[in-house]
Amino acid sequence: MSKTTSVELGGIGQAVKRKEDSRFIQGKGRYVEDFYLPGMVYGAFVRSPFAHARVKQIDTSAAMKVPGVLAVITAKELHGVKLAWMPTLAGDTQAVLADEKVLFQSQEVAFVVAESQYQAADGVAAVEVDYEELPVVIDPFKALEPNAPILRTDKKDQKSNRIFHWEVGDKKATEDAFRKAGVVISQKTHYQRCHPAPMETCGCVVDHNPATGHTDIYMTSQAPHAHRTVFALVAGHAGLVEHKTRVIAPDIGGGFGNKVPVYPGYVLAAVASVILGRPCKWIESRSENIQSTGFARDYHTTTELAATKEGRLLGLRVKTVADHGAFNAHANPSKWPAGLFSICTGSYDIPAADVQVDAVYTNKAPGGVAYRCSFRVTEASYIIERAMDSLARELKMDPTELRRKNFVRADQFPYATCLGWEYDSGDYHKAMQVALDAIGYDALRKEQAEKRKKGELMGIGISSFTEIVGAGPRSKFDILGLSMNDGVEIRVHPTGTVLARTGVKSQGQGHETTFAQIIAEELGIPESNITLEEGDTDTAPYGLGTYASRSTPVAGAATALAARRIREKAKKIAAYLLEASEQDIEWKDYQFQVKGVPGKAKTMAEVAFAAYTNPPPGMETGLETSYYYDPPNLTYPFGTYVCVLDIDSKTGEFKIRRFVAVDDCGTIINPMVVDGQIHGGLTEGFAIATMQEIRFDEQGNCLNGSFMDYLLPTAVETPRWELGKTVTPSPHHPIGAKGVGESPNVGSPAAFVNAFVDALSHLGVKNIDMPVTPWKIWRILREKGVA
């Protein structure tokens, strides 16, 4: 019997307490705003009050007289250094500062630099801008009408407000499926505009040294290497060459996709530092964060399902109008304009599908970021899970029965979807059964029937989602041409302790702990003897960063494989030390043993010491290596969530009675960390389903641009989560892990909304768009004569 991992080793599967916590609980974390450099100045934006207007004149003379103000930068100055526009990660261009006109409310118009943040704010108030208002386009459908004003007049070839039309699937086969169908449903939904809103907003401190030409950029970055490359591409001519530019992403206070794009603030802090020869800090306020950086979703979708009368799915047709705002600044892999939205066949064996997405410019803040989501999988999961419930209702079939009938079966994996994905592994029937057993589904349905007789409202919602994460294979996945692969370096020191560095960047996920656990498992070195560093482009190997649940699938795999490379060399050293041939050495019980001679063994620490003091003749000194991982496929986490809620039929107020989440993320590295991520993701899903939407009036005024009216749930509203697991390892990942951070945010909104609609379905309610608020429910109840 071989030894398995132990608490002391802290390998895979152990609920190791986090290394990160010691500094955070003592106020010793170092976030971007905590950097105070000698001579540092502060930058702040003048922002547009209008959603669409010509900038006729900017008068900076009064601002320049404000005590402490050092500079006011406008598009004119940026043209002088060829930095007025920058590329977005989606291949569009974005004005760094409004160039001739503004395209959304709160757009950056001028950047004031001063000795203190208070003086910078004084300077902002003193800048006078003369605007001439232009017609505003807010509705994305109206934006597509032939007579709509064209917003992007800066782009010569832009003849409409359409950014792209993208389609995938087989139109003819889908048409045939709908023609043959016994039942067809059509469901219109809006996945509303929401915001990642991490607790730490975006910001940076840029320190350009005019003597050496080196630039240090402390930055809220989920992708430090990619950002350094972008800086070099955009501002190389202004001195930000890649070998002299160092991006440092220190502790990051949550990201959720908000910290993937490059924002004007980063560029302007760099410009200010170069111009003034002093470090410049820019930290956005919360209102600026919600109003100008990195919104998510805003998909208006019509979903149609075709099925036999017995409930066997035949075809799926999806048409989406995607509101991207003023600049196409989403952050999808280059070859995937609508991201991984074509995962929308979900957990079901659907023979034919036709999916179309039209992306549109409007006078709203730019974005479309992957908010706790692997590139539009959240939108995809939502529409299919909502449509499955609608179809079940049409068929008068229990929604679990319809799902069971159409799930991809465990024996079908690897499963090729009709839209071109190859699901790696899964057991959807099992995950759903575990969830239904945990919640006591059959009893709940009986209770619901009885309550309905009494006029009481109770809803049960199911969501059986399939995620698609770990982008990705370089043949298909790149951002601005950069392969979506990640590097890892591992150094084993002479005394047997380890320093490892990766190209990804934790924003709370706990890599310092979980990646150390992977190495502990592979090398037999206790995790407490392993330090993991990320976020400094001068020291860490290249990688595309942490978003889209890609760290464990890509960098986690690189970590395991780098450790195995270490073990290959270590084995040779062990053979030398044990005076045996390499073929006679085996890795067993976390050490090298001579086969059949249990007492004759060397630990990794002993081998490491020899690597520096007594390596075999002819072998290089030392024990270190690196590995760049190009995944052969994506990974496909899945699960079933069940929500039970009660609604007050007189007021529309509701209470989430229970929520059971059964997740399958393959091999679990640290169950404590996995559960923590699921708690957090479910809470964000709850917020989206019941509270959050960034809304605009007809003039393009943002109606809820602060935490006063863009609501985050507190501990009081947040439901108590009940978690369960199944474990179906990924067959192609070195340790079988799939990634988990986003599953709860992807899977849960549909479970909530399905429960709300279920509670009201006997009144003829077929859809309620998110956020489902008591006010919305009350209005429906009034309309139906109930309240």
């Binding site: 307490k17 986090r18 990160e20 916590d21 010691s22 500094r23 955070f24 609980i25 003592q26 106020g27 010793k28 974390g29 170092r30 976030y31 705003e33 905590d34 105070y36 943040q117 208070y118 809103a197 991490p198 607790m199 730490e200 907003t201 502790d251 990051i252 206070g253 949550g254 959720f256 306020s285 919360r286 209102s287 924003q507 709370g508 996920q509 706990g510 404590m672 960390v673 559960d675 923590g676 991520q677 708690h679 957090g680 479910l682 809470t683 964000e684 602060s706 935490f707 006063m708 985050l712 507190t714 501990a715 009081v716 947040t718 108590r720 989560w721």
Partner: protein, 159 residues
């Protein structure tokens, strides 16, 4: 803008600085006293990342002027541990995974400290209401509640 000398006793130490009348307490603590554990997460007194104890009571330091703390006693997250001995709340947060990105944690700890000083044995519901002025985006609060219960239990046993 008038300027004022502000003297406070913070984490047991007397500290002074000359500040503008409009200087917010949180900026005084961070920018002048360089105690950067206290964070700023919003501009509307909503998130609680800036929570500190003023005369033993949890307050949002973004919504007080520094001059209002003149002559008063402050405690921030840096003052929770006694030497190398962690406060039971700090232990609880680590033990029960009550934090992920760590940004809300200092404010959450100080709110919980304020809660336990006025109600040493809170129920789950009372804990949830006690930290309702503090937003967390990562944890869903479930483990934070457990962490506060851990601290309450430990402190009741004299720990």
């Amino acid at each position: 803008m008038s300027s004022h000398k502000v003297t406070v006793t913070i984490n047991g130490q007397k500290r002074s600085a000359e500040v503008e009348a409009r200087m917010l307490l949180v900026h005084f603590i961070r920018d002048y006293l360089r105690l950067t554990g206290t964070h700023v997460g919003c501009d509307t007194t909503s998130c609680g990342a800036c929570t500190v104890l003023l005369e033993g009571q949890a307050v949002k330091s973004c919504t007080l002027f520094a001059v209002q703390a003149e002559g008063k006693t402050l405690q921030t997250v840096e003052g929770l541990a006694q030497g190398t001995a962690l406060h039971p709340l700090q232990e609880g947060f680590k033990e029960h995974h009550g934090l992920q990105c760590g940004f809300c944690t200092p404010g959450m700890l100080m709110s919980a400290a304020g809660l336990l000083s006025r109600n040493p044995r809170p129920s789950e519901e009372e804990i949830r209401w006690g930290i309702a002025g503090n937003l967390c985006r990562c944890t869903g609060y479930q483990n934070i509640v457990k962490a506060v219960q851990f601290a309450s239990d430990k402190m009741a046993k004299g720990g």
